[in-house]
Symmetry: D2
Subunit: 342 residues, 4 copies
């Protein structure tokens, strides 16, 4: 059976990625698309790579009808999302790709996002969208909050270790290398080709990156105590992909075993043989995650390498994986596309 989909904020990269994936998804059909500033345009004008698809014209949200919509993907900017979702009919299931409902604690939200949450009751209701760890709640959820793409990468690397105590919880460093599409299609000087290509550097340094809010929430929950990791993202001259190099104190073999065991039945999470390292390009355009564990020369130290595509498993692919569960479909439906290489 086919379900009707609305995508709000379809003119950004996560919106385009949702359409790309739904294009070959047998159970989903795009019935409504919104894009405020581009209302009235066809999706093929905004994203010519989608011109072979028959898609609805882009509208303002207020001009959309949700009567026959089963599920709505919100790819709107932070803050806007809260306002819009509180106005949606309760019978429409919602997957939010913004940061608005990732943090359960209103205080934490205010700390990381600089203002109080405008829809605290929805915040309570929302389920965190890290599928592999919230599967059951997601199945029954009406509102699922997609994770940050960096957050997902770090969480996949560590949750099974944090929860089992396989590592020292007070000495975790996550060094991330991120492609530029995670910054979206926004007009910022540092995102220009001439500025970014052939160069790389750190950003959001000094413990200021907002995804730390998600790390603190999920790691502390997993550990049953407060856990605050150290995290630095770096921008590298590529479009898709995140590599998290995670430095931990723990026995490398046990770390590898714990991850293998935790992900043994996961369709999208692949733990590489001990000592092997993954490459971002090996998951590009796919919903897969590759994880490697390496032993360091200093006793009791291990390093975990995790890669995923920020637009797929880190965002839109994850959203569809969650939608599949919310709609009672097979979780992997439409998501088994192989990575694009080279």
């Amino acid at each position: 059976m086919t379900h009707s989909v609305a995508i709000l904020g379809a003119s950004g990269y996560t919106g385009a990625e949702l359409v790309r994936l739904i294009a070959t998804h047998p159970g989903l059909d795009v019935r409504a698309l919104s894009a405020d500033r581009k209302a009235g345009m066809e999706m093929s004008e905004v994203f010519p790579h989608l011109r072979h698809l028959a898609l609805p014209t882009l509208r303002k949200i207020e001009d959309l009808s949700f009567d026959e919509i089963d599920i709505c993907f919100c790819a709107l900017p932070h803050a806007t999302s809260q306002a819009v979702i509180s106005q949606l009919p309760r019978n429409v299931k919602v997957v939010d790709l913004s940061a608005d409902f990732r943090l359960r604690d209103p205080a934490a939200y205010e700390t990381w996002y600089g203002k109080p949450h405008s829809a605290p009751e929805l915040q309570k209701e929302a389920v965190y969208g890290l599928t592999e760890f919230y599967r059951d709640e997601i199945r029954d959820a009406r509102l699922v909050a997609g994770t940050g793409c960096n957050a997902a990468t770090g969480l996949f690397s560590l949750i099974p270790l944090v929860s089992t105590g396989a590592i020292d919880l007070d000495d975790i460093i996550i060094d991330m290398k991120c492609g530029v599409s995670g910054a979206g299609r926004s007009l910022k000087e540092n995102l220009l080709h001439a500025e970014l290509s052939e160069g790389w550097y750190a950003y959001g340094v000094g413990g200021k990156h907002r995804h730390l809010g998600e790390f603190d929430q999920e790691f502390s929950k997993a550990a049953g105590r407060t856990v605050e990791v150290q995290f630095t993202p770096h921008l590298v001259p590529g479009n898709r992909g995140i590599l998290a190099t995670t430095y931990v104190r723990g026995e490398a073999r046990s770390v590898h075993e714990a991850l293998k065991a935790a992900y043994a039945d996961e369709p999208f999470l692949e733990v590489l043989p001990f000592g092997a390292v993954p490459q971002t390009k090996h998951v590009r355009g796919s919903n897969f995650v590759h994880i490697g564990v390496v032993e360091e020369r200093a006793a009791g130290r291990a390093t975990i390498y995790t890669v995923l595509d920020n637009l797929t498993k880190g965002s839109s692919g994850q959203a569809i994986q969650n939608a599949n569960l919310m709609l009672g479909q097979n979780e992997t439906t439409g998501l088994m596309l192989a990575p694009l290489y080279p």
Copy 2:
């Protein structure tokens, strides 16, 4: 019903692309893989991005059994292909991705490839794999010769114009900009990242590029007279994609109309609105072709812009499109994947 597939020369980019596409193709199943120098290895060692798939171990060709193989894709080097295909059981259908069977005339083959053909009888039997123009022959063929990726790009730009005489047949210039994956996974200094990135230049200049053999054969056939175009490929710092800028003498509107009419019912060929130009990235990773026509300021001159992905529509996607026909399947099966953007 599912058909059994063998891929010979699976360790190259076209081999990997075949596996990528077949991974989500409902009617094809990979049963045998060969790679001479890498025999004994798993495909996931040669191409880790395919590790989520259950694939047969790489073998030497002589160690493969073709008893239950319905169709065989040959992604072998030129010349090797001739020798191998002549040894294959006659009941196995073959799609050859090499250059060995593209030219029907033994003399032309010798001219462009520098030595006589070793399997002239197969050469006679082979059907040229430009699906949109050889559909019926391909349906009944036992051996189909995949086109050159540059050749396909130029042929889609011009055949309907050459056959209808919408343009001057003696003044055609094709300036092509090609991504590097067309050169394969070979260890050549000019293919190194440090050598290629941030730079671009022409190659195969002076009418020496072998794909001219295909142009001469197909354009002359379409025109019913000898047609020899001028063609220069350029290497640009990208992995996938070909852009053909084709300069012709003819009325731009008629050129646009002729192409629109010719491709009106084609599932993969999209003619853009008059005056619009395509981008290689808008078809990346897909089987689609985008074609634009522009009027020049000089009276009676038009320019045609055509893009496709050299590894998909230019090679492996085209091969599967032909295989679908040879196996009596719907021509588009497994090939409707949307382009990867950004």
Copy 3:
């Protein structure tokens, strides 16, 4: 002896390139820098790669004193340049990098730039900055108009052929492949890394690119009759460099000889051996131009390949070359930096 330099519009790429070149130029010293929106900032904040240099703070133009300035480089937007330069003291020599003074004919200016020129008397006075062809006029000029970067590339390819009639003047096609820095540091969606990298396409198609105004002016002057070439620029995923592939009717050997003869004594123009083709990366970051000539298979047809760095020889390097002449210095002073490779 050292001359004092002012750079107006120093916050763009051509401004930064001027500073880079002057940094090791023994006869020039930067005494004043302007940047309207960034007035009050240090150059090292706008361009951290220049932080090792002691440079004046960025000011608004009206806050600069020109009393001790010998020469002023204007790297301002089109139209702004006219207004600013007419206000500069007559004793300050000026090299303008904008398009404002490239066209001598007011009517032509209005045609290509869409409005009448606001300083027609200056327009008359201005000398076209293509050094190799206007050397004597530039030596005595007070105002030199830098050429367009695409224009320079095409002019170097053709002027000696157009003036000697070595080619058919009515059948010239220039297919150009341009790096993105030519578009400047402006915030446009198509200049984003995620949009541009891994893709390429034509722009300014259909004889609409403004540099055609320069081609028409200079080629007609060289030929002593009206010459209108066909020209299409393409954007490729690289930062610096322009490759012009120029298709002409003429005897290839004569074309090669004519270019070799014309440029025999030029310090920056290198004509490659007959049949060899240049690469953009071989001149990156330098003031050199490499030119190659190839014979086509069709009798009487030749192709000329010309490369230069749009920010150096195509803009700021050319500007300093002209300033050297205007200041009575050796023309090559400070410009012999070798290309950066890889």
Copy 4:
């Protein structure tokens, strides 16, 4: 006064970079070039970007005369260097860019390079080429061993901290992001553009990278006790540049002060304002090093960000800086070229 230079192994990237820098160096003149496999070729055939220079023909080493050579740069492969240098006349000063003479301890050499050193007496004599810390020894040296490019980046980040005890010596993690030119011009599959661009990953993991030998030697020397850091290099899709993200336990302000104090008078080492982070592209093509220090949210933790160009300050620029000292020239002569941006 001008000194005569020989470059052995001139066909690699460090050889080309030496020639690029010497091209505008007033005190050095290239008199001899060797390249074994390319003997008999002109440098302009191997590196067309250098065609404007008058350079000696490439020869085999045995065909070179060292009679009038003042200094010899050896850019030969590891192991080869030992054999060649021991045969050079004692009156020729030598700067070796290989790894052969970086480690003073023969046992350490054998550990990291897998075989005994063939010229231990030269090994004793060699001075480690980290100019800023070995200036006096280098001035008087006959043989200087250029540092590893990764080693230099890490050493600049830490030596002043290790020697002053500003940080915990037992908890240092260096996460490095390296451009591909550091791997040289060698034909390896992973260095192909199609393999590397659009992807990134770790290599030499698990404490196996040979530059650890240099870290152990220099940090232990600076600390007066054994110091073994943790180090992981990553390959990113860029040609030039290294970024070292170094995680330490120490008070961030003190770390910043210690580095500022140590490098206050250094012409090439720039310590950024507290909290600012550097970019590899801001030093590309130059001999400069930019260093930033950031305070982490966890008390007592700081992160140091250091960038340099692996081919310039990390290799050939450093070599010329050392040669300037060995020849009694000003240390910065010929090395003040500004970075190329964008």
